[in-house]
Symmetry: C2
Amino acid sequence: MKIIIDAMGGDLAPREPVLGAVMAHREFGCDIVLVGQEERIRSILEKDNITLPRGITLVNATQVIEICDDPATAWRKKKDSSMTVGLKMLAAGEGDAFISAGSTGALLSAATLLVKRIPGVKRAAVAPIVPTGAGGAVLIDAGANAECTPEYMAQFALMGSFYAEKVLRRENPRVGLVNIGAEPSKGNELYKQVNALLTAAGEKGTLNFVGNTEPVELASENAPDVIVADGFTGNILLKTMEGTAKFIVHNLKSLFTTNLKTKAAYLMLKGNMGGFKKMLDSRETGGTALLGLQKPVFKAHGSSDAYAMLHAVEKAIDYANADIISAIAKDVNSLLLAQEAEQ
Amino acid sequence: MKIIIDAMGGDLAPREPVLGAVMAHREFGCDIVLVGQEERIRSILEKDNITLPRGITLVNATQVIEICDDPATAWRKKKDSSMTVGLKMLAAGEGDAFISAGSTGALLSAATLLVKRIPGVKRAAVAPIVPTGAGGAVLIDAGANAECTPEYMAQFALMGSFYAEKVLRRENPRVGLVNIGAEPSKGNELYKQVNALLTAAGEKGTLNFVGNTEPVELASENAPDVIVADGFTGNILLKTMEGTAKFIVHNLKSLFTTNLKTKAAYLMLKGNMGGFKKMLDSRETGGTALLGLQKPVFKAHGSSDAYAMLHAVEKAIDYANADIISAIAKDVNSLLLAQEAEQ
């Protein structure tokens, strides 16, 4: 297993991705290729007294894609950027997965054009795992495609289903469509059409569609394994979860520290809050898979520290080990056939 | 001040709306008209040994709009329902506001056709107050219109702005547009167009537009006072907040009760959690105003108990006291002129 890491991507690059790569190599024993400004990477290692292990190789790339670069063209304009060089290596088979904490938009554009989509797949999608009452679900699409057709979204359902099966290890994953009501007639025109497509796919056994899912049900033990959304709605959902969690945790803390008694209680609890914080911590979830591409590409959070990068490597290994891509390639066509048969 | 209450609406009707009405009369001294099946209402009062105060009058309505009735036609098919009778009274000036805990869809259709929209307003919208780091914001539209045009949403911004000014008492309310990124070019086609309209309205001084707002910013102290969304997205946002809060509170509780030490700490804190629970409790927020109608109509939560109904009456009084409707009527036309001038 060889993981290619963009050493220059993210707010804390190159230091944190580099240290994370070293940690991941120690922890998982995987080979790692660090792509970026070689001199800077070497000076980080030197500063921390780290001798480059044999399993980690450096590939020099002089340019860096910045957050202000136009996502659509950055990879092409900066041909010697760590992202462009790394993705080209992945496409050429010189690694099993690619990880970057750089701009999501730039990564999506670059990966779509360099690694290419699975034949038949109309759009790549961002598919993070979000906390639910059932132990987490794949949310797809969480922001790659602000404008979607019903067909894109039916494909997201299929891709998310394979991901939930192989990576979350859910048998016959339950696929829900985000919506504002349970009845198939609920929602806007787009969602009514997607409901019809997924119902048909469910009836044909292509996937296990459980119907519309209101976001409030995500707290329940019966929450689906896959949550399908267009990229606009999925992103709103994801960021609302994040915002609400932030808001509550902030308020809890001020509640706990209002007086001496509660402060004492808070201190007693604090040590036990690890598990809870872990669940909400974006560093633990490690980032998000890009699904629909011919090779595993993984987006780490922009604010990834070494620890987050370690987790991103773990998820990227899961993604590379699971045989998702060939499964999608095989079934995306049967989904298309099912749709055509409908018409 | 005279508030007309649908005694038959909601899961706990007629008992809880009736008891809530009695509480509200005692608390706020307002006159109340209870509309519903008179015999059932009288037997509830008798059972609780309540003598009908002089300020509360009963109006008999033999039918009840059920959740299974078609929302679009229920009010017309059930002409003697508490909702239809109550709204007709409001339209005829026999009260200052109408409250129902019945079906939102039925209430919207009935109110739009019986009370009518403010001239110039294209769509009525649901505008609950949601918790934010800045002490709450008006979310508009939270679910009335699954399909929106840019013009509808520009009007929501204006209506929400007046509501925030008069009811939340925010000076020159800051209006944000829900979106997946801060730049005006972010989002789908609809949101790009709305951003342009609101930017123009902001430049003309019609409202105080602060730009796109990602939901994660709602936790911040700088959160806007008004959050504009189409009804689909607004409803997803609202229900995601609710679901995430549920999920966290549930997990906190299980975390707190894992061992004797944390259990003891939890018990110490429990008494102080009142304020926190209050903030998340839908009974406290009391429901949501319907904005854009010629008279104040207020939707209480479907699961409203007497206490929730008390709060709904409080909010409905606020709504009726604030001179929002004439302000909307006056400015909705200047907004239209501004739009026309743009074209």
